[in-house]
Every structure is written in structure tokens, then in C-alpha cells.
Symmetry: C2
Subunit: 440 residues, 2 copies
Amino acid sequence: MKSGTDLAATELFAGLGDPVLESMNFLNQIAERYPEAVSFAAGRPTEAFFDVGSITRYLDRYHAYLRDERSMSPARISRALFQYGNTKGLINDLIATHLSTDEDIRADPESVVVTVGCQEAMLLVLRAFRRDERDVALAVSPTYVGLTGAARLVDMPVVPVAGGPDGIDLDVLAETIRRVRQEGRRPRLCYVMPDFANPSGLSIDVSVRRRLLDLAAAEDVLLLEDNPYGLFNDGGPRPPTLKALDRNRTVIYLGSFAKTVFPGARVGYVVADQRVATADGFSVRLADELAKVKSMVTVNTSPFTQAMIGGALLENEFSLARANRREHDLYRSNLAEVGSGLRARLERAGLSGLVQVNAPSGGFFLVVTLPVPVGNEMLEHSARTHQVIWTPMAHFYESSEPTRELRLSISTLTPQTIEQGLDRLVRMIGEQVSARVAVA
Amino acid sequence: MKSGTDLAATELFAGLGDPVLESMNFLNQIAERYPEAVSFAAGRPTEAFFDVGSITRYLDRYHAYLRDERSMSPARISRALFQYGNTKGLINDLIATHLSTDEDIRADPESVVVTVGCQEAMLLVLRAFRRDERDVALAVSPTYVGLTGAARLVDMPVVPVAGGPDGIDLDVLAETIRRVRQEGRRPRLCYVMPDFANPSGLSIDVSVRRRLLDLAAAEDVLLLEDNPYGLFNDGGPRPPTLKALDRNRTVIYLGSFAKTVFPGARVGYVVADQRVATADGFSVRLADELAKVKSMVTVNTSPFTQAMIGGALLENEFSLARANRREHDLYRSNLAEVGSGLRARLERAGLSGLVQVNAPSGGFFLVVTLPVPVGNEMLEHSARTHQVIWTPMAHFYESSEPTRELRLSISTLTPQTIEQGLDRLVRMIGEQVSARVAVA
């Protein structure tokens, strides 16, 4: 062991050296080291409408709700805010009303567990379903790293299911379930982001959603639906979520307020209305089983942060679609500008035959495919030499092989940074492609 | 499987049926079912000084600190509060100053990870040290259930080390380490609460603390020190924490603001200044490794809740001893009243020879030993028939055998509830003891 050290990395959890956990670190470090670079990397929401005044406004609004609509005494209100609270949450009723208002999802508040961001919700679900080494999670690939990372913490393998151009390939899913079972393993859940997925930007068609539900029910595999970006569409009607279509309790629904209220609240939730048969012949809610896990992870979600989210829901009559009109317009405009601006520049640079850009109709992300491998070295070069950063798609695959894709995020850009960033990006791409062509 | 259910408990994480997770549920249910009972069960802080006005006062204070002392622009401040933040935390510097002020602990802010309550801190540490099935945690027994529960989630066995009357028995500890190694297992950490432990109420003498540090360093077992109650002593000088005495980075220190500011913030922290040797010859901070785990548990601790704690620290010039003068007096008085009131009543009832009451000099808890087994049935009877609740100590032991002890918590009582509760408790004890004596 190196002198001056106290323990060796080889004595610690092997997952700490896992590419998934390392990749978050690497990407954050690049962003920190090149603060002047235009960033197409950040998956965070816009800061354009953050308003410090909203904190006390939301808290006051929730306080008034407890006092006037729930008839709580001052002592009960201060207990609700300051004291330890119910592990399942404080604002479950308000979240259920929001889900009915914005998503046409009918959720019993008792099926909701309020979590410290959606990340904790993923961890709770994966921990609950990981019984032994035979249990595996399936995940539409490429996959959000938060899911993969949480699975690492509970030692649950993630088996990728190639998403393909439709967001999910049901034949591949059926075949994967079969293969996993043949290996003596149990596919328990399939993680899927049907709306503007991170990182692919793709959405799943309604008819495919229905067939996915049927397949999952038939195969006895639960769907773990994650929906952080659904509201940010092209302005047309939104397709129903899997949970809104779910008639057989096939879907566990993950929700986040990070993109629709603000990330700093660290409030998310899970709707788990499945019934669990106990050994002694009773049945309990899956949500209550998840709460048992939560009691040993974070005890309960801060009632202050829940109060802020509750206040935001009350102020907007439970509609986050309504609350996010400005954000919606900004993201929609940014996505259109980045897509069209990138295509125009590639055209002018004579690269349009070599470089593909996908065309999501909403969300935060689009994917660019180059004719050359795209990895961390290219990102580092891009940041240092061209002052533009983005995310190598390799970080979102289970295999560590480089891919030819990079992910662009549009959420924190302005018209100025879009123009400047795309100029730099296309210069970098041109340089990389011609270097390869010259070598070849 | 029971009809109308979707899955069987036997398909889920076996820990969900573990007595540790069930016991929390059972104890909460008793408290909910008998709201009129006098509760000696709750480990929560007093609600006597909760002040809704403190929320905005603390937030404003932290906001002014960022603006005036850290010279942050309004845009940077709102980003710090609303956006995703550093996984290790936002108020690490303020926590380090507090540790130096109140505890004489010199902590580099970079060695601090701010967590969602101390519970998350335990989970991060145990996950990081659980490499494979050979790794075990030692814990002074009886043990706080949060530690045992977190260990269950990461499949890490907890080996009890009988605490005995001195709070820890070093011979037993040395022998346990030897035995665990002989079994081919690795004792990685020993969990210990040296000040007014939950549940025993016992504290460890300074000379024993020093020898414990020496033993742990010699045996290459880290100490996981938890200190939620240290401030609430008898008014005399406080002994140094293990971390304050630590010269060899033998101690990982767990901190909580749940009892010293308020539980609803859900803010705790861990000081992990150990250096980890990496495979490629570098060394990294253990705190940074813990942050990698945290990034997949909760991403980061809510900056709003950190701001509240930060504001409380600033308002009190970093001294929570100073901030908690009223609480300190209340707990000290309650502990004395419960101890002396109980002894006097036992005396009057002719039970003082049969029933022992320990005499902690601070903290929230004391332990009563009966001449008969004390279990959940007795608690349920006590709640229903005598309207008084408390905690069977059996919940704090790895073995499921009943013990003869019960834990009393003094933190939420008033002079009135103390008198009333002790009357009921002694009536219940008298009934139980004489029933046994009659049978025998």
C-alpha cells in the first residue's frame, strides 16, 4: 500500500472502480476544468427562471394549505415540518392529484413513496427486487446512468435491451427475457423511459406502449417507467404514459420534480401499487415494502423540501404543465435551433453525408453519430482545443466499447451559446472526421 | 400466491422480512394506535422550541453569508440553492468550523460528505466497506437499529460486541476481532456511540477511549463513531470524542443535526479523512469514494436543507452547544426527573430490589431491567391497558431472544407527562412482576 495511505481501493466495494461511477466523476471534472466551454453536456434544467422569492412563497402556500384545508393546529404544523415524518411522505395526496391532473394517472396516495430525488426511488425498487444473484434488471439501452449506478450498489446485473429506432424493440425484449431465463436468472423489471429518453431522445409510439404492457404482463416482468421529460414536448397532444395505460399493475412509475420544479429540492417519488402476498396469507402494498427500505436509507424525505414542492403544486393548481410554460417554450426552441443549426452547419461543411443527427420531438437530448469512434479522449480534446463539451454515448452502454455517438443536451443553452457552441462543435467534428479520412 | 396479488414476498429482498426492519414498523404502529398513551418510546427531540419563523431566518442568514462573505452573485446564489449541487455538499466549510468550535475536531472540509441525515452516512460507509461476503461490521451491543438496518441493505453481517457496563469491553472486542478473523472473515469497522449511547444511555470513559483507539489502530479496524447526543450532558466538561483524540485516521465520524437543529432538515454528515491507495499508485480521500456511492443514492443533499443548517450554524457562531441551551436544560431535567421519580416509585411499590434502573449522566435514554422477559406482547399490553409505551430492548440485539430490559426515552416529556407516565409504568411493572411471582 502506498505510504501515507490507510487502506487500499482493493479492500473497498469493487463498484467504486466501476466505469459507471467513474464516468460521472470524469464528466463532472471536465465541466469543472473547462468552465468557459460551451456545454452541451449538462442534463440540468435551465436556470433562467429560478426565483429566490419562490422558496418562501411555496413554503407559505403549503403552510396555509395545512392550516386552512387540513385544519392543522400550529403545533401540528410545526411538528409536520420540523420533526421526523412518515417514511412514505407528507405530500402524497398532492402528488396523486398532480398525477391525475397532468398525466391521467389514478394513484392511491398510499401507493406513493416520496423519495430524495428519483435516484433514491430507483435504489429502493432495485434493492427490493434483488433477492439473490439470480435477479437481474433489464434496461432499454442506451440507459440512464443513474439506473445502472443504483443497480451496482445492490449488486444487481443490468441486462441491456437494445432500444433501436423505436425506443424499444419488443422482439429483442422478448428474446432477452427468454435468454435470461434460460441462463437460470430472473428478469424482474425492465427500466424504460418512454418519453424523450435520456440519452437517446427517442420516444415510444402509443401502439408500441400497449404491446409493451401486454408483453410485460404476459412475461411477468414489471416495467419501471421513468418520466422526467414527458412534459417538454413539441406542443401537440402528449401520448399517455405506460402507467396511465396500465390496467394490471404492471408498471412501477418513477417521478421527478427536478426538471419541473427544481433539482435543489431533491424530491422525487415512486408509485408502486402492486400487492405483495406475505407468507402468512396477507397482502401488503409494494409501496410499504419500499418504505421499509427507505427507512434504512434516508428515514424520510425532508418535509421542508416536500413543502416547497407541495406549495408549487398548489400554486399551479396541480399542473406542472401549466407551471412550466416558459421552460417548455425555451426547451422547445432550443431543441429546434440546435437540430436545425447543426444540420445547416454540417451541410455547409460538407459533412452531412458522414454525420447523422437524430430528431427528437421534445426533451433535453439529441444524438449525433460520427463516422469515427467517440470517447473520453475526443471529449477532452474538444473541451481543451475547441471549448465545447458534450457527452460520449459510450457512458450509457453496459459494454465499455467506444461508440460513434455523442449526446447533446439543449436545456441550459441560450440563442448565443447555441450559435457559438455549434460553430465550435462542427469545427471539432470536421477536424476529427478529416483526420480519420486522411489516415485512412 | 394470494389472489389479487401481483408478487410474493418470497420473491423480494429477504431483508424486508428481517426483524430489524419489521421492528421499526411495529414500534411506529404501536405509537400510532395509542396516541393517548404517554410515550417513553420516541427517540425524537423535543418540540418545545420549534419555531416556524426560524426557517426563513436561517435561509436568509445563509443567503447573506453567500452574498457578503463568499461574494457570490445573485445568479450564483440561486444556482447554488436551486440547481443540482456538489455531491459532497455545500456547507462542508461551516460544518468543519462547527466541529472545531464544539468538538475540538480538526476536519478538512474536503473530508466531509454532507448526507441526507446520519442514516445515509451509515449506508455510504457500510456500502463502501462491504467488498464481499467476508466483510463484517462489528457493533457495540445493544446497537442502534439504523446501523443494523443499513447493514442489512448492503448484505453486511453485523457482529455484536457486548458493551457491558463501561459502554465497551475491550477484551471482548479484541476477542471478537480474533474470532471473526479465524472464521475467515474480515472485521472492517466497529460501530460505537461513546456518548450516551442509543439505546443503553452509557458513555465510555476517556481512558477507555484512548485504549480503544490504540486497539483499533493495532488491529487495523476502523472505528465508526456516532455522536448524536454528546452535547446533552450533565453540564460539566464533556469528554473528547474519539475523533478529537484520533491521531492515526482510525475514526470515521458520523454527525447528525437531527437532535441539535431539527430532524426535518434531514441533514447529517460523515468525516472520512482516510486516504485510499488506488491501483494505479495514487491516493484519494475516502470521503470522495463515499461521495461516489452517494451520487447513486441521493445525488446530493438538498441545498435548501443544507442552507437551513448553515444558517443555524452561522446564527449561533458555529456552536450548537450554545444554540441548544434550552434543550440541554430540558433534557437534563427530564432525565433527572425520570430517574429519580422512577426509583422513588419502585421503592414505594416494594419493587426496588427486583427492578434496576441505570443512571446515564446525559442523553435521551435510560434502561430499566425487570426480573421477567420484556417483549412486544408486554409493550402491547402496556399501551392498551396502562396507556404507557416504551421500547423493548430486544429490538437492539442481533439475537431475537427476549431480554429483561426496556428503554425509556426522556426527550419529548413534560413534568406532567413524566409524573403520569411513571405512575402508569410502575403500575404495569408491578402487575407484570407480581403475575410472574404468583405463577412461580
